[in-house]
C-alpha cells in the first residue's frame, strides 16, 4: 500500500494540507484552526531520543535514592517515591496506590522507553524494530496519563502543609525527579507528530 506523506489532514478540523517535503525545516499551522501541523525541526528525532534516554537514567536515580526526609523533634522518617505510593496500599486503597504508581513512574518511563524503541534505530541508521509504529503511537497517546509534573506540584503543596509541624529535607531523588520533569517538558517541545512519523515511515522497508 502506498500513501502520500506530503498530504496531511488536521486532526482537529479535518482540513487537508499539502506539506512540501523539501520544506521539512519550515513550521506550518492549520489554515482553519491554527493547529501546529509540523514544527519544522528535523533535529527533533535526535533530541527526543537523547532526552528519552536521559529521563530513563534519571528515573533510575529517583527509584533508588531517598526522596524526602522528615524531622519532627525526636522523630524522623524518610520516604522514597515507592514509599509514597505504598502509603496508600492498604485494603480498598490498593487500586489507588497502583494507579498513582502508574501515573508518576510507570507511564512516564514507559513513554520514554517506547520513544527510544521506536526512534533510536533512525538515529543509528538501521532498520526499524518490529512494532515500531505501534510503539510510537502508544507513546503519543500516553502523554496525558504521564503525570510526573503534576506530582511535583503536589510535592510543593505537601511541603507547605508540613512546614508548620516538621523540618523537611530533600533527598537526591527529589532533585533527580525535578530534573526528570524539566527534561520531559523540554522533550515535549520536540514531539511533532508529522516530523516523527515521516522519519519513521521513510525507513520502513
Amino acid at each position: 500500500m502506498i500513501f502520500d506523506p506530503t498530504c496531511i489532514a488536521c486532526p482537529n478540523c479535518d482540513v487537508l494540507h499539502k506539506v512540501a517535503p523539501a520544506a521539512v525545516a519550515t513550521r506550518a499551522k492549520c489554515a482553519q484552526c491554527g493547529y501546529r501541523l509540523t514544527s519544522g525541526r528535523p533535529e527533533a528525532i535526535a533530541r527526543v531520543v537523547g532526552l528519552a534516554l536521559t529521563s530513563i537514567i534519571l528515573m533510575g536515580v529517583v527509584l533508588f535514592a531517598p526522596f524526602l526526609r522528615l524531622n519532627a523533634g525526636p522523630f524522623g522518617s524518610a520516604a522514597s517515591v515507592v514509599d509514597v505510593v505504598l502509603g496508600f496500599a492498604t485494603g480498598i486503597m490498593v487500586p489507588l496506590a497502583l494507579s498513582v504508581l502508574c501515573f508518576i513512574i510507570v507511564l512516564p518511563v514507559a513513554r520514554a522507553a517506547l520513544l527510544l524503541y521506536a526512534l533510536s534505530p533512525i538515529i543509528a541508521g538501521v532498520g526499524n524494530f518490529p512494532g515500531a509504529p505501534a510503539a510510537l503511537r502508544f507513546a503519543f497517546s500516553l502523554k496525558p496519563w504521564a503525570m510526573a509534573e503534576i506530582f511535583m506540584v503536589g510535592v510543593a503543596v505537601a511541603l507547605v502543609k508540613l512546614a508548620g509541624m516538621a523540618r523537611v529535607e530533600m533527598g537526591a531523588a527529589f532533585w533527580a525527579f525535578a530534573l526528570f520533569v524539566l527534561v520531559n517538558a523540554f522533550q515535549d517541545t520536540f514531539m511533532c507528530r508529522n516530523t516523527l512519523w515521516t522519519a519513521l515511515s521513510a525507513r520502513r522497508r
Partner: protein, 212 residues
C-alpha cells in the same frame, strides 16, 4: 507567508473522499479500516463520540459527589483523629495563612473539575445539532479542557505524600480517606470524556448551517 503549506480551498479529507488519521495525519481512501502509516483505527467521524462523552462525564459526575462528602485525609494527632474533606482542607490552609497554596488546591480540586463538567456538557449539548457559535471559540474551550483536566490530580498526590511521610505512630499519622480514591476516579473519567470528544464535529456542524 507560509509557503510550505498550500490549502487554497480548505477542503476537508471527508469531502475529498478520504479518511484522515488523527494520530499521524496522513490520509487514506475512504473506507480504509487502519491507517496505512501508523496502524491506528480510522474513522472519518466518530459517530458514537458524543455517547461516550456523556457516559464518561456522567460517571465522573457521580464519583465526584462522594469525593466531596467523604474525608480526603484522616489525621491522628495524640489520640485525636480529625478528618478533612477537599473543601475542608482548603479552609484549613486559609486559616494557616497559606493563601497561595490554598488557591492552588481550590482551583485544582474544585474550579477545574466543576468547570470541566460544565464545558464538556455545554459542548456535548451544543454539537447534537448544527450550531451558530464561533467554532474557534468552541475549539479553544475543548483544547483548554483537555489540557487542564489532568492537573486536578494534584490533591490526590498531596494525600499520597502526606500519608507516606507523616507516620509517627500515636504522635501524628495521616491516612487517606475514601474521597481520595473517588476523586482520582472522577479525574480519570472526565479525562476519558474529554478525549472521547471528536473535535472535528465542532467544524462540521457549523458548516451545515452556513452554506458558503
Amino acid at each position: 507567508m507560509d509557503r510550505s503549506v498550500s490549502s487554497p480551498s480548505l477542503t476537508t479529507a471527508r469531502r475529498a473522499g478520504l479518511v484522515a488519521c488523527r494520530s499521524c495525519g496522513i490520509v487514506s481512501p475512504f473506507g480504509t479500516r487502519a491507517c496505512l502509516r501508523c496502524g491506528s483505527r480510522l474513522e472519518s467521524r466518530d459517530e458514537a463520540s458524543l455517547q461516550r462523552v456523556w457516559a464518561w462525564l456522567l460517571a465522573g459526575l457521580i464519583v465526584y459527589i462522594p469525593a466531596n462528602t467523604y474525608p480526603m485525609l484522616r489525621t491522628t494527632q495524640l489520640f485525636q483523629t480529625s478528618e478533612s474533606t477537599i473543601v475542608g482542607g482548603v479552609v484549613e490552609l486559609v486559616h494557616h495563612h497559606a493563601y497561595a497554596i490554598a488557591a492552588i488546591v481550590f482551583i485544582a480540586s474544585v474550579v477545574i473539575p466543576v468547570g470541566k463538567f460544565l464545558v464538556i456538557g455545554y459542548l456535548a449539548v451544543l454539537l447534537r445539532r448544527p450550531h451558530g457559535q464561533d467554532p474557534h471559540k468552541l475549539h479553544t474551550l475543548h483544547t483548554a479542557v483537555e489540557f487542564i483536566g489532568r492537573w486536578s490530580m494534584i490533591d490526590v498526590f498531596v494525600v499520597a505524600i502526606l500519608t507516606a511521610l507523616v507516620q509517627f505512630d500515636v504522635v501524628a499519622s495521616v491516612k487517606p480517606g475514601l474521597a481520595a480514591a473517588c476523586f482520582a476516579l472522577s479525574v480519570v473519567f472526565t479525562m476519558l470524556s474529554a478525549q472521547a470528544f471528536d473535535p472535528r464535529l465542532i467544524w462540521d456542524r457549523i458548516k451545515e448551517e452556513s452554506p458558503r
